[in-house]
Symmetry: C2
Subunit: 188 residues, 2 copies
């Protein structure tokens, strides 16, 4: 049974949870896949860190906790420091270029980064940086189909912001496609 484990991390207010929700929804829209998203809060949940664990599978997910994440999308330095040790060998790490300085980058993973904040600002709304990240992630990984992700974005963002968010998604996606031309996948 195919099972992809995805961790998205960043600050509160960056749209981490909405991003995870979109991935989960996308997986189930066109692909007839199942997905779960989970957050676990313990006494350590103070502070500004925020993360979501998403599992995409061919069958309903009985155990929704992540056991070995193979894809991480990280939008803060704290998330980078905290989560990258958990990424499985050969996994894919995606970071926001201005918010994460990939110090001591692991050699056994594939790393991509995108200036999503800058792109979001060019679109006039810094808030959509998470959707830029999702477009980029869709381009450089094959976890969910582009059309499914775009539909899930449209369905999940506040009414009236669909066009802005779809633009953000397309900009991130285009950046990923360009990057792949320059930097072919090194691992896997």
């Amino acid at each position: 049974m195919a099972r992809t484990e995805i961790k998205i991390g960043g600050f509160g207010g960056q749209g981490v949870i909405l991003s995870g929700y979109i991935v989960g929804r996308a997986a189930s829209i066109f692909d007839k896949k199942y997905a779960t998203m989970i957050q676990a809060f313990g006494p350590e949940a103070r502070g500004s860190s925020c993360s979501a664990g998403i599992i995409v599978a061919d069958e309903p997910v009985a155990y929704p906790y992540l056991t070995g994440p193979n894809l991480m999308v990280l939008m803060s330095q704290e998330a980078y420091t905290k989560f990258t040790p958990e990424l499985v060998k050969g996994g894919t790490l995606i970071t926001e270029e201005e918010l994460v300085n990939p110090t001591n980058l692991r050699k056994d993973i594939t790393h991509y980064s995108i200036p999503a904040t800058r792109i979001a600002e060019e679109l006039g709304k810094k808030m959509v940086l998470n959707i830029v990240m999702m477009g980029f992630t869709t381009a450089v990984t094959k976890v969910v189909k582009k059309e499914a992700m775009a539909e899930a974005v449209k369905m999940s963002v506040p009414k009236g912001t669909e066009e802005l968010n779809l633009n953000a998604f397309e900009r991130g996606y285009a950046y990923g496609i360009e990057l792949l031309k320059k930097k072919p996948v090194a691992m896997n």
Copy 2:
């Protein structure tokens, strides 16, 4: 082991997931409780419905799926129709007054409603209706402490919107306190 199961439901874009996230975070901030939030997406996840399942417990949550929700916060008619049959006997149902018409309301539960959309509009931002709902929920139930919820709101909303959201929370809370004076708790 005390375990509270909460279901929040509504449209995509209403802030359902953020609301759940705030409850989960609040539970863990002051109370040293544990919480999980889960969404399960299957092939039926098309459409505009959106829900989150939150569990608040005294110990880490091994099984994060809801088995018998005792509190529901619903912001759409579809969510009302779909989820209320699952509410346990004696449970508490909270609805948005203009968005949910409580047809065939169950007699074995306690029901509260609030015109959260109108209150949010009075504050100038319809978007904060979910936070109004959370303030109201905090007042009429005792799942998490008011201070913990307020702190979790502040930590979880986008930067620059903290004051607006705290106002929304206070307005919902005040409405709940007033309502309790008029309508004492009937069940439990």
